[in-house]
Symmetry: C2
Subunit: 330 residues, 2 copies
């Protein structure tokens, strides 16, 4: 028997009433949810839509899909230095598959609970598989000024930093798309990065009073750095030797050519690490924040007043190459 | 030439920076938007997903679709007595059709501007046509208590009221689905109700201090009233003669049988009128609120302590009939 829409919501997404946290005044079940932000805070909001065949394969494990759909949204909160509060989920499903729904909800709630991010509402309908999550986070105001990390805050002289390692997600994607072959264990390891990204929430919070600007790496390092440069009206020089060091070991061992390796770092995507800028005088503070968050960070370049993005090698000599970022409509 | 994702967002959905209203601290263009609610307010949040072939026909006028996608969300704010502040738009498109996008954005922004509802973020991707809008509204706290109208506020003895007229949207849908024939002018008039619903924002605001409970009629009167009864843990008696009077004249003239007419009212859908309850002592206040909002209201029954929904005729005699509400997975 097919579950009705309302039963479906109740069974998988409406959990026993949890103690309402400070900010969530009303959760699932009414026309609207109600958020009541703490005095002196702003609400950071982001929204991502995941489509079958575009953002994930039809046969993806539904639990990892539930994780990823929320993770890519939490990653936007991380990039703003926002503390997660709540989310809504809109879900279009071709049919009601209870095993799929159970696993999807399990994956989603595991990540949500890890970040105290309460599901407060949403919508379900029949249609091609589509997952749209909107997340809400809290950012403090200090002296009336927002502490949110923005793309527009980079300043000439800032260092450019990237968290963690890059390239595995894109490598796995190339393999799954049949563009290259990988040993089974390498595919398994890199596929985990593609399908279960880790939103850098703790790092975003730790950087709130240290970094000047931040963005999460979803479309590729060069493209995403480009967004910071555009919004901050400045340019940058990027040290490709330092950037090459960001490549995850698994990926480095699987890709023979130095150019291909660099391309994976510069034009990869789906890494969900943070790229951020901070004053050169704040290097110790950046390292302390990274240590507090338990994620390594690497310095890969410098923000400059002159617009444009300049790639240089270890000797400061210009590097040429075509490393474009991922664009859903290109 | 295909537009890139970012150009597309910029061209159609990122308008010249408007003066930021009090609550919108940062709009489109960063990882997150930032809302800064006024002190002593809550944020009401609702989210609806519209899928081609399910919620609209593939050949629908894109400007009316832009209107409807936002209208159904604003209707949820209206049902909570919330004042619209902002919205996000996630859009999955099979291909970039600039004429379609221009018209869709025009329809959406016309309604958004009419309600000072600023587009503050979203996502675009390639995929089957899917529109997911999340809206944000403001509800005051008075003495620390939320003034939001909820489904759970109905009390035994309350009158049950409905705004406007019902049935046209469902009648048009039946005709467009080939289940019945309508004269061209009747189809045109009723189709406007289906495709361009009017969110009852002003009425919701005017009822905030008058009504006890409210819901917007999206799935049909009986089903939506059922939600109020369930959440308020009470029952109701519904006067079918009074309810029959809610049928729009256009629809009444086109439908010959009294039973069919009543079914359109009780089990229609897509009307986006408000159903609300208020104390019997507040009848004058309800009428004053309706007059202030410029929309008629009709009293159709009473909330009772005994659970269940009882239909009676003009003489108080029980009426039987099967009038189910719309369910996307039934």
């Amino acid at each position: 028997m097919a579950l009705g829409e309302f039963d479906l919501i109740a069974r998988y997404f409406q959990r026993p009433q949890r103690p309402l946290t400070g900010a969530v005044a009303l959760g699932v079940g009414d026309d609207c949810a109600l958020l009541q932000p703490a005095p002196g805070t702003q609400i950071a909001i982001s929204c991502d839509m995941l489509v079958e065949g575009r953002h994930f394969f039809a046969d993806v494990d539904p639990a990892t899909l539930g994780h990823k759909a929320l993770a890519v949204n939490l990653s936007d909160l991380a990039a703003c230095g926002a503390r997660p509060l709540a989310c809504t989920l809109a879900l279009s499903l071709p049919h009601v598959d209870e095993a799929w729904l159970e696993a999807f909800a399990r994956g989603l709630f595991a990540l949500a609970d890890a970040h105290d991010c309460q599901l407060i509402g949403g919508d379900t309908t029949r249609g091609p598989l589509n997952i749209c999550i909107t997340v809400f986070g809290e950012v403090p105001l200090v002296g009336g000024k927002s502490r949110a990390l923005l793309r527009s805050g980079a300043r000439a002289g800032d260092d450019i930093w990237v968290s963690g390692t890059l390239g595995e997600a894109r490598l796995a994607l190339h393999c799954l798309q049949g563009q290259l072959r990988l040993p089974r264990d390498v595919l398994q390891a890199t596929r985990a990065r593609l399908e279960s990204p880790t939103p850098r929430i703790a790092l975003g919070l730790a950087l709130r009073d240290v970094a000047h600007a931040a963005i999460d790496l979803s479309d590729g390092l060069m493209g995403d750095l480009g967004h910071i440069l555009e919004r901050s009206r400045c340019g940058a020089t990027l040290d490709t030797a330092a950037a090459a060091g960001l490549l995850a070991d698994t990926a480095a061992q699987a890709v023979p050519g130095a150019d291909q390796r660099l391309a994976l770092v510069l034009a990869g995507g789906d890494d969900y690490e943070l790229l951020f800028t901070a004053a050169a005088s704040a290097r110790a503070a950046v390292q302390a924040a990274a240590q507090q968050a338990g994620v390594p960070v690497t310095r890969i370049g410098r923000i400059e007043a002159e617009t444009g993005l300049r790639l240089v090698d270890a000797h400061g000599q210009p590097v040429t190459g075509r490393y474009t970022s991922f664009d859903h409509f290109a």
